[in-house]
């Protein structure tokens, strides 16, 4: 489901400046449709993850980028691994 920027700010409880900064850092990558940026439920959850990292786990801004990058790699790996397992099983 696509969420407009306005709604996203409300749902994620984010300041506009913070959002801009996070997009600049590529912590968030908004989608685009008809020359306006859009967000998803996944982005809302990602904001919560970023908050957990920054506030609860005490990770600084540089660290957040590193953690997100690794998390994204883990998801890439998990998906490829899932596909590999599926293809192995279908051959077996």
């Amino acid at each position: 489901m696509m969420i407009s920027k306005q709604e996203f700010l409300v749902r994620a409880q984010l300041e506009r400046e913070t959002l801009e900064a996070w997009i600049e850092e590529e912590w968030l990558i908004p989608g685009e449709s008809a020359d306006e940026v859009t967000f998803s439920d996944a982005d809302v959850a990602r904001v919560q993850l970023i908050r957990d990292l920054k506030n609860d786990l005490g990770i600084n801004d540089e660290g957040v980028g590193v953690v997100l990058n690794l998390v994204d790699q883990v998801h890439g790996l998990r998906r490829v691994l899932t596909e590999v397992l599926r293809s192995v099983r279908s051959r077996a």
Partner: protein
């Protein structure tokens, strides 16, 4: 559970408990104890593994220690951890708030007074999104695509993966003269197909030519890797190369050496005529300027011709007669430097 048994648990030591008091109000009291007892099963301090007297700092530390191991987004495959984390996170949510913690300690709110635990984490969306996840990142293992068939195919099929293809190294032996004058070589690839390699004039042995985009194809929209072609120059039967100069041992006859002559000398770019001066000897070096290898700046090295005086292959009676009667031949010692 009956209120009576609770009373036993909570207040059994109180001998002075008035019989009359087993009324509605005491039942309410008992119920409250019941809930506190229930809550104690889920004691928030126990959940975080800290003492009731723990400082806010200790609580934060304990939470961070647990969260590292349990946060679902940092441990996306750990299902039990996820449930545990919800409890831990709820406990921390309450205990990290000084006001709520005080109320919890006084028994004014129970463990569920904490924020509603989160139902879905980022990882749930990330794993549902499949190939459409814009954050998904392959930089940690895109290199697998080069080595393994199953993986490389899968990675290539993934529309959203983008990675530069790998560089591929080749070894290309070329002839000595090709290295000097330049050439175009065709490299047959192990996986089929050919690769045209332009050898620039003057290439050095061991030099690596980088052919942009001729390596492995990129993944998705990623650019292709490069082909790295290492050049091995084969030795030549009579030329020897040192940097940009070419060395040649040139055999000359005795008469040419003694009397001088115009002789034909091979160079990498074709034969030239050279004057052997009168009285030349074995080891005399003559320089042919500009007949060496092309340098990067367009100038050329030299060819250095070292003369080797060679006697005729068959014994020659006339020469023998001459040498026997030649007094000067006994008057010099070519080995004088070897005497100790």
């Amino acid at each position: 559970m009956a209120p009576l048994s609770i009373r036993m648990n909570g207040c059994a030591t109180n001998d002075a408990w008035p019989t009359r008091a087993v009324s509605r109000s005491s039942q309410r009291h008992a119920l409250r104890i019941f809930f506190l007892v229930e809550a104690a099963v889920n004691d928030l301090y126990e959940t975080l593994g800290v003492e009731r007297s723990a400082s806010p700092d200790d609580i934060q530390k304990a939470y961070r220690r647990l969260a590292k191991k349990l946060h679902p987004d940092l441990n996306p495959g750990n299902k039990e951890g996820e449930e545990h984390f919800k409890e831990v996170s709820a406990a921390y949510g309450l205990l990290s708030d000084a006001d709520k913690r005080a109320r919890y300690d006084r028994g004014e709110i129970d463990a569920t007074g904490a924020e509603k635990p989160r139902q879905r984490f980022y990882k749930d969306f990330a794993s549902e999104a499949g190939a459409g996840n814009p954050y998904e990142n392959y930089s940690g293992f895109a290199d697998f695509a080069d080595s393994d068939d199953v993986l490389s195919e899968l990675l290539r099929r993934s529309a959203h993966v983008r990675a530069r293809g790998a560089d591929v190294r080749y070894h290309l032996p070329i002839e000595f003269l090709e290295a000097v004058t330049g050439a175009t070589k065709r490299l047959t690839l192990p996986e089929g197909g050919t690769l045209e390699v332009t050898i620039p004039a003057g290439i050095q042995n061991g030099q690596v030519l980088r052919l942009r985009g001729k390596g492995r194809p990129g993944i998705g929209e990623g650019e292709a890797g490069d082909a790295l072609v290492e050049i091995a120059i084969k030795p030549h039967p009579f030329f020897l190369r040192e940097g940009n100069d070419v060395y040649l041992d040139l055999p000359v006859t005795l008469s040419e050496a003694v009397l001088g002559a115009r002789v034909t000398v091979p160079t990498p770019t074709g034969a030239v005529t050279m004057t052997v001066p009168k009285g030349s000897n074995t080891g005399t070096v003559l320089r042919l300027r500009g007949k060496g290898v092309r340098r990067r700046d367009g100038s050329h090295g030299d060819e250095l011709v070292s003369l080797q005086v060679v006697l005729p292959e068959q014994p020659d009676p006339e020469l023998e007669a001459f040498a026997a009667g030649w007094q000067g031949g006994k008057a010099y010692d070519p080995r004088r430097d070897m005497k100790s």
